[in-house]
Each structure stands twice: as C-alpha cells, then as structure tokens.
Amino acid sequence: MNKQTPTLLIRLWRSLWTTLRHAWAKRETVSYPEVKRPLPGRWRGRIVLTRDPDGEERCVACYLCSAVCPVDCIHLQATQRADGRRYPETFRIDFSRCIFCGFCEEACPTLAIQLTPDFEMCERSHNELVYEKEQLLIDGQGKHVGYNFYRHAGIAIFGKAIGEGVCDTPPVDHDTNLP
C-alpha cells in the first residue's frame, strides 16, 4: 500500500460510476432501416439525368462530366437529332466506381447531370451497379426548375432565333451606329 492507494480507489469508483450512469442515458445508436436520419440538403447521392421544362433531355453530350470524373466512371456516346440538337445515344455510370464527388454536376453546362439525396443502392453484384441511360434519365427537372439551356444560350436553334432567349436583347446592327 503506497500513499496513492486512496486516490486510486476513488478514481476506480468514479470510472465505474460514470459508466453505470450511462445505463440511463439516451442511446446514440440509430436503428437504421426503421429510423432514418434526415439527410443534409446538399447530400451527394445517386446521379440522375434531368429534363428541361419542355420535357426534352437537358444533356447535350459535351463529355465534360466524363472528362472531369476522377475515377472515369461515366461513359457516353454523343449523337445528333435531325434539327441539330445533340444528345447522348448511350449514357452509362458505373456506380461501383463512382465516388460521389459531384464534379460531374459542377462541370455540366446544361445542369443536366445532378446528384440526389439517395444512397440506398445496394446490389448483389458489381454489374448491377452499372446504370444505363434508361435508369439514369428521370422525367423531372431536378433541382433547377424552369431552367432550359437553349433559352439561355446565345445560339440559334429550331424555334428560337438569336436574341429571343430569356435574358437576351435583340442583336444590334452595328452599322446603324455609324454617322
């Protein structure tokens, strides 16, 4: 017995009492499938391809998402409609490689590719995690309601001449400014 013994016993009892008190404390465990914690609003989960307000695909197959993807999990093949509008013929995301970094969403010039607050995508095999365009393309507009790339872009397309866009003013004939 040395002179530390009494404090040692007190410390021993204190740690025992501390853990015993926690028997009545609130549980920290969340029983997951029954109880779901609220996800943060900007949660980066399952990737979708959205449509514009007219119901057309927003994606113009520019390959920027595929290029920026750090794990190279996005593969697409561009093609053109008769009116000259580009769209992806195939669009494939391998979610077994995807790291949900959200770079594709940031790179997308037409706000087509978006990350959603859904993370429950378990599958039995890797192959089932490869999502094709049918699985990726949704019927809604996602986070950016009312946005249509072609109404903002300064190029002429079928049904819209240059200067008829949402934020545009008609082009000015510079020659009229001459004296």
Binding site: M1, L12, S15, L16, T18, T19, L20, H22, A23, A25, K26, R27, E28, T29, S31
Partner: protein, 320 residues
C-alpha cells in the same frame, strides 16, 4: 457400477457440457448487450427477439469458416493449444456444486484440483502464442506467462484463509461451513481472490495477453474459425468458473432466504459476471510492469497478511 449408472453419468455429463457451452454463448450475447447499455449503444438486437439468437448466428459463422493453419506455425502445438483452454475449464466444473443436491463430483481436494487446472489453462495461451510463430501472439503468450506467475500465488494464498475457516478443500463442505458468508470474515481474501480471478481469466483491466489495441489480438491473432471459438469459449467459461468459485467460497454459495438454493447461486454468480462486464467498460488496461508490480508488491504481501491474520486470530480463538 452397472451399465445404467454409467449411462446416467454420461448423460448428466453431456447435459452439463451442453448447458455450460450454451451459458458461455449467451454470456457473449449478454456481455455485448451490457457493454452497449453502459456505452449508450443498443448492442446486437437483430437476430431473433431482442437479438437472442445472436450467439447461434455467431457459432454457425465460426463453425462454417475455414480451419486455417499458417504455413509458418508449429502445426501440432498450434492445433492442440486452443483445445487446452476450454478443456481445463470444463474439467474444473466437475467439482463445482450448483446447490445442495445438484453436483457432479464432490472431491475432497476440489479446491486444489481447480487451482491446478487453472494453472494448466495458461498453457493453452502460452503454447498458442508460441506456436503461431509471429510477433504479436508471441508477446501475448509471454505476457500470459508473466501474468500467471504473478497471480497464481496470491490467489492460492487467499484461498488458504477460506480453507482454514472451513477446515476442508471440498467445495460442498466449504459452502456448508458458511453460516456467515466468508466475505464478512475474509474481506481482504475476497478482494484478493476476485482481482486475481479477473487476472486469471485475462479480463480487463488485466487483459494483457489479448490487448487488441497494441497486440492485434495477442495470443489468438493467427487463429480463426472454430479454433478462435475455442479460445473464446475458454475465456467465457473461465469467467463463469471464477464467478461460481467466488460465490461458493465467499458469498455463501446457495445459502439465502426464501428462494431455492439454485436460484441464489445463479443470482450471485450473475451479479459477479455483471461485475466482470462492468469492469470491462470502465477501466483502462494496465501496463505490463504495473501488472507485475501490483501482483508481487501489493497482492502477495496482502495475501500473506490475510493468511497471517486468519491463522493468528484462529489460534487466539482456539486457545481461549
């Protein structure tokens, strides 16, 4: 003995074996739930009602795993070591009476037999650590050897006081002698035996041979599947044995008012098992040298003092 008696003995042995293994399995479940209770968690609650089928799932998983022997291991010793641990503990249970009428064998050297087997149990850990032939198991085995040497002596000496008071080595007669539980007459002996018992079973705060934070899993790092399950079984049966022994030797065994003896025995044993689990959540692990220091410099002198006082007071009482 005729054939019927032999069969009866074998059947009761099988029943006790099955019962003990089941109790050990459910102790693992109980420990996980109690640890969770004291750590603000829920613990295993998925398999069956309240997760009660968790031990079944665990056992099935461990049995179905591959029985792998590392190529660098000493094959024979490596295979034998995990068998030694539960075997010696199960053999000790032969002399543990559960109540006045329920007992398997009433040896007149029961206490010595239990002590001998508990020393043999350490061979399982040392040989397992040695034969694994890799660094962490070796360190774990080494530590268990040091721990055994440090704690066998005070443990045995603490029991001499009990034997002096009851005048017998038989556990049945020791319980019968306890009109007053020996914890009242031998408080120091009780504490020494309990602490040494915790050290014997390699439980926190004395779980140095396992020490998962610094030694991966200590002596059983290389083990897997059913061999790992054997080590685990031995550990939990060891807890049960120490709790039962403390109950029998110091807490009056099956003595108690109103309830039948078996229930009293079970309640006291369960309370002690809860203490084992409670200590595990609460206390940090001792260092190697602290453990040896405590064993040799505190426990051994205290046990000797207890022995001396018991003998002196007994002599004084007998003279007058």
């Amino acid at each position: 003995m005729n054939v019927a008696q032999w069969l009866l003995t074998l059947a009761s042995l099988g029943l006790v074996l099955l019962g003990l293994v089941l109790v050990a399995a459910f102790m693992i479940y109980g420990e996980r739930r109690i640890l969770a209770l004291l750590q603000d968690r829920l613990g295993p609650n998925r398999a069956g009602p309240f997760g009660l089928l968790q031990p079944v799932a665990d056992i099935l998983k461990l049995i179905s795993k591959e029985n792998f022997v590392p190529p660098f291991a000493d094959r024979m010793v490596y295979t034998i070591a995990p068998v030694i641990v539960p075997l010696t503990v199960l053999l000790s249970f032969a002399v543990v009476p559960v109540s006045e009428d329920w007992w398997l064998a009433d040896l007149n050297i029961a206490l010595l037999y239990v002590l001998a087997l508990s020393s043999l149990r350490v061979y399982g850990l040392i040989l397992g650590g040695w034969s694994s032939n890799s660094k962490y198991p070796l360190l774990g085995g080494l530590r268990s050897a040091a721990q055994m040497i440090s704690y066998e002596l005070p443990m045995g000496l603490a029991l001499v006081g009990v034997v002096m008071l009851s005048g017998s080595f038989s556990l049945k007669e020791i319980v019968a002698a306890q009109t007053l539980p020996f914890i009242v007459l031998q408080p120091l002996g009780f504490i020494i035996f309990l602490v040494c018992g915790i050290a014997e079973t390699n439980r926190l705060p004395f779980d140095l041979p396992e020490a998962e934070n610094e030694l991966a899993a200590g002596y059983n790092t290389e083990y897997g599947g059913i061999q790992f399950a054997f080590f685990y079984l031995g550990e939990y049966l060891g807890i049960l044995l120490i709790a039962a022994l403390v109950t029998l030797l110091f807490l009056g065994g099956w003595h108690g008012p109103w309830l039948p003896g078996v229930v009293w025995f079970a309640l006291k044993t369960l309370a002690l098992i809860f203490l084992f689990f409670w200590l595990r959540t609460s206390l940090p692990r001792l260092r190697y040298d602290q453990l040896m220091d405590f064993g040799w410099k505190v426990m051994l002198p205290a046990a000797l003092l207890n022995l001396l006082m018991t003998a002196g007071l007994g002599l004084f009482w007998m003279e007058n």
